[in-house]
């Protein structure tokens, strides 16, 4: 069946490494990760968690002692971009370390097992470690018509989500699809796609939206749980404050250009080449909470605005609908044609009002009205 599946990174582990008694640092040692790399990793994660650097030793100590929790990773209605982002994440492959420190018992995209065998492994993990394992959900959950639009092994995504998320210590909804429905939920949302929290309201869900999610934030979230033994503080949309507590616009490297009044007016113009603010090109940084400007991607080298593309708001609920049009600052006015901007409508309103009163004024001026007298005075 799955001949195209490549060797997964976690498949090379021997049975000894599956030993529950080994601590994370021991496992890493056996995996050939040097102490130095481990400490480097700890300080990176400490920074991602927005903790002061002095916390790094405590993070290291905690990870030294903590036992590896089992993790299952389910792929629902999404594009696997988050798995890709994780597998391509930076040196010393922080993501790899996460996969290594966690006992990933089930990950449809990268596991070697297939078919009923794989499903059985999943069932075993969620029964044996009930209340202790992590669930990572990638992709939205189609709810329409009893959930028939997304099935794996004869079970609907909804059914699986209820089963897996319900028994997990915590569920991490990775990417915008799992968090809020994402692109599959964009109007007209043919499959009735929703995020995990909406599909399984009783579950403890941490949303890590983004398209894709930044793998560093996933690592940091898991480390936070391992170190503090509780989920990080969340905002009103269920996102960890350490990663989603600030607006992009307020941490953006182009912000001085915004304040100065220097804007890109056209793709490739002088301002664009000089790195001016992308506000007029439809940047949604002022409406988006995410740590992209500081955390960045690809070994912290780049992020969309840094590369000259306006933010599309991918960390916000229903971004595909509410942040569109992508290259305009304001949404279209509902009920009007797409070429009608708010200003065209406003101008029409004002011109209509002015026109009506010019006519009314002319008519009134020509009329001989009767001034208020005894009979029309206010009584």
């Amino acid at each position: 069946m799955s001949t195209t599946r490549t060797e997964p990174c976690n498949d090379t582990r021997g049975d000894a490494l599956r030993n529950e008694d080994l601590s994370i640092s021991q496992i890493l040692k056996e995996r050939g990760v040097s102490r130095r790399d481990f400490l480097k990793f700890c300080s990176t994660v400490t920074a991602a968690l927005a903790l002061p650097p002095s916390f790094a030793p405590s993070v290291a100590q905690a990870l030294d002692e903590v036992k590896r929790p089992p993790l299952v990773w389910l792929e629902f209605q999404g594009c696997t971009g988050d798995s890709e982002a994780l597998l391509r994440s930076a040196n010393p492959t922080v993501g790899e370390i996460v996969l290594d420190i966690l006992s990933v018992d089930y990950h449809e995209t990268i596991m070697a097992a297939a078919g009923h065998q794989a499903e059985a492994a999943l069932d075993k993990t969620i029964t044996d470690y009930k209340g202790k394992y992590f669930a990572v959900i990638e992709g939205s959950i189609p709810m329409k018509d009893g959930g028939v639009y997304g099935c794996v092994g004869g079970k609907s995504n909804l059914e699986r989500a209820r089963q897996v998320c319900g028994g997990a210590a915590a569920t991490i909804a990775i990417g915008n699809c799992a968090s809020y429905g994402g692109i599959p939920a964009a109007a007209p949302n043919p499959t009735g796609a929703v995020g995990v929290k909406e599909a399984v309201p009783g579950a403890t869900v941490i949303n890590l939206p983004g398209c894709p999610c930044n793998a560093d934030n996933l690592t940091a979230t898991i480390v936070h749980y391992l170190v503090f033994n509780k989920i990080p503080a969340l905002d009103g949309h269920g996102r960890p404050l350490f990663a989603y507590g600030k607006r992009i616009h307020d941490n953006c490297e182009r912000r001085p250009h915004f304040d100065a009044g220097q804007y890109v007016e056209k793709w490739g113009d002088e301002g664009h080449r000089k790195g001016y603010c992308l506000y007029k090109m439809g940047c949604k940084g002022p409406a988006t909470f995410h740590n992209c400007p500081t955390q960045r991607y690809n070994e912290k080298t780049a992020w969309p605005i840094g590369s000259g593309h306006p933010c599309v708001g991918c960390a916000e609920p229903q971004f595909w609908d509410v942040m569109s049009p992508m290259y305009r600052r304001l949404p279209n006015v509902p009920g009007f044609g797409i070429e009608h901007t708010a200003d065209a409508i406003g101008l029409g309103l004002a011109a209509g009002a002015a026109g009506a009163f010019v006519v009314h004024g002319a008519l009134s001026a020509m009329r001989k009205d009767k001034e208020p007298g005894e009979d029309t005075k206010e009584d």
Binding site: L241, Q262, Y263, I345, A350, H360, D369, E371, P372, G373
Partner: protein, 221 residues
């Protein structure tokens, strides 16, 4: 034209006039700066300039002034004279108010030549003011909700939590922008009507917002 004597009446007390003109000034400033926030022009010569920064600062200073003035006017509706009272804003809830409203509508739609006289607000105008105040409220809520996003977790952000759970930031931005146009629509109507009634009523309508006095056939108390 009648040559009858009119009575001088003190209708608009000083605070009400202040609130009116502060609001007018604030709206002019807010619209000007708001327009530049919505359609910024590249004004900065170097990255260390602060053109947009100042424009936004002026917007926010005017916004606070406006909000305080609007709130004060609402409070004044409970302590000011009968013409300023909140009751004047709901003419449709009394038989007399409905009667005056009907006359006013008939006059505005050119169905009668009888110019109605109103000592305080004309009942059609107060109905418009009521909707205007709803727009004010919308502008203030969306404005402060957008403003507070620079400090999530702050008191302002927390107390506006209901805004974020019901509306998206982009939706608020659009509503705030459209609200400005609604206010423009009102103002065009409003200035025209003030002008019209000044001419037709001969009661010193426009100057009453400066002096507080109107001149009416009806004798005051």
């Amino acid at each position: 034209m009648s040559d009858r004597c009119k009575f001088k009446q003190y209708v608009w007390e000083l605070p009400l006039r202040w609130f009116h003109w502060i609001n007018v000034l604030a709206i002019v400033v807010l619209s000007g700066t708001g327009f530049l926030i919505g359609h910024p022009v590249t004004l900065g010569a170097s990255a260390s300039d602060y053109a947009m920064g100042w424009i936004r600062l002026i917007h926010f200073v005017a916004a606070y002034t406006f909000t305080v003035s609007v709130a004060s006017r609402v409070v004044w509706a409970f302590i000011g004279n009968e013409h300023a009272s909140w009751r004047a804003f709901f003419p449709m809830f009394s038989a007399k108010g409905r009667e005056k409203l009907r006359h006013m509508v008939r006059y505005y739609t050119l169905q009668t030549h009888q110019v109605p006289e109103t000592v305080g607000h004309n009942p059609l105008a107060t109905t418009a003011y009521f909707f205007l105040f709803l727009v004010y409220l919308g502008m203030i809520l969306t404005g402060f909700a957008m403003y507070a996003t620079h400090a999530p977790g702050g008191i302002m952000f927390k107390s506006l939590g209901f805004m974020y759970s019901h509306f998206t930031l982009q939706g608020m931005r659009l509503a705030h922008h459209l609200g400005m146009w609604l206010i423009f629509g009102f103002v065009i109507n409003h200035i025209y009507s003030a002008w019209l009634m000044d001419i037709k009523e001969h009661g010193g309508e426009i100057s009453s917002m400066f002096s507080g006095y109107k001149f009416t056939v009806k004798k005051g108390d």
